[in-house]
Symmetry: C2
Subunit: 139 residues, 2 copies
DNA sequence: TGCCATACTGAGAACCGTTCTCAACACATC
DNA sequence: GATGTGTTGAGAACGGTTCTCAGTATGGCA
C-alpha cells in the first residue's frame, strides 16, 4: 500500500464519513460530520464517526485542527500544506495560503536545535460579513 | 483602571495563582497550576484556580494556549507577542520569536477582507533531548 | 465598632467532547 | 456451513472544564 491508499475496509459507514468530509469546506467538528453523515446513513453511531475520523487522520487522509477557544476538534479533508483564517465573531474557519518566509524554519531549527520542524499558522480576525454587521457606522 | 491593572480583588488565592503563573516558564496546564498553588495554599479548590485563570486571560494578564493533540489548555504569563515551539515527543512547549515577514498580515487582510488580524504560530519538532535519546545511531 | 451588601470560595454536581467496552454482526476463507 | 477477523452501535466511562450553591471574607458606611 502507498501512503495514499488506506488500509481500511471501505464500509458504507466509512465511505459516508469520507464523502461528507471531502464535500465540506467549512472544517466541521466531529459532531457536525456525524449530523451530516446521519442524513445518508441514519443508523450510524457517533463512535463510528469518531473512530473513522481518527483513522483518516492517522492515515494522513485528513487533518485535525484544534482552534484556540473552541473545545471541539475540527476536521479537514484538504491535506495539502495550508494555513487557516478564523473569524473571532462567527467562528468560521477558512483556508488560506500564507507561507512563512524562506529560511525561517531553518533559522528556528538552528536557533533551538529542534529537528524535523513543521508549523501551524492560524490568523484571527473579523470576517467581512461580521465586520459589516457589527460596525456599520463609527462606534 | 488601565488595561494593565485588573479589576479584581487580590485575594490570597488569586495572588498565589498569579505568582505560580508568573514563576512558570513551561506553560503549565490548569491542573499543573492547581498542584503548584496547593503547595502554598493547601485548601484552594480547583474551581478557584480555573476561575482565576479565566479572569486573568480575560483581563489580558495571561494567555491561554490550546496545542494540537493535547486536551488540556496551557497558560502563559508572558503576554508579549511571541510564538511557540512544541516537542512532538515529550510535549515541552518553549517560547520563541519568529515574526512573520513584514506585510504578510496586511497581505492576508487585503486578500480576504478580514479586519483586525492577528495570528498564532506554533512550530512542531523534536527537541534536542528527545532527538538524542531517540536516535543515537542511524535507525 | 457593628451591619449590610457584595464579592469570593470550595465541594461537588453537571456538562461536553471523546474514548472505551462489549455483544452483535458482516465478510472473506475454507 | 463453520471459523476467524474486523466492524458496528449503544451506552458507559473518562478527563477537562464550568456551574451551583451554601458558607465565608471583605469593604463601605453608620
Ligand atoms: Zn464572522
Ligand atoms: Zn483547512
Ligand atoms: Zn522533547
Ligand atoms: Zn509562551
Amino acid at each position: 500500500m502507498t501512503a495514499e491508499t488506506v488500509d481500511l475496509r471501505l464500509t458504507p459507514q466509512r465511505r459516508a464519513v469520507l464523502d461528507v468530509l471531502r464535500a465540506a469546506t467549512d472544517h466541521p467538528t466531529a459532531a457536525e460530520v456525524f449530523d451530516r453523515v446521519r442524513r445518508v446513513q441514519p443508523g450510524i453511531g457517533s463512535a463510528t464517526v469518531y473512530r473513522t475520523l481518527g483513522r483518516l487522520v492517522a492515515a494522513g487522509q485528513a487533518l485535525e485542527l484544534t482552534l484556540d477557544g473552541q473545545p471541539a476538534a475540527r476536521f479537514d479533508a484538504n491535506t495539502e500544506r495550508h494555513d487557516h483564517l478564523l473569524c473571532q465573531s462567527c467562528g468560521a474557519a477558512a483556508d488560506i495560503h500564507a507561507p512563512l518566509a524562506d529560511g525561517l524554519l531553518a533559522d528556528v531549527a538552528a536557533r533551538t536545535g529542534y529537528a524535523g520542524l513543521s508549523y501551524d499558522l492560524v490568523f484571527h480576525g473579523l470576517c467581512p460579513a461580521c465586520r459589516a454587521s457589527q460596525a456599520p457606522s463609527a462606534p
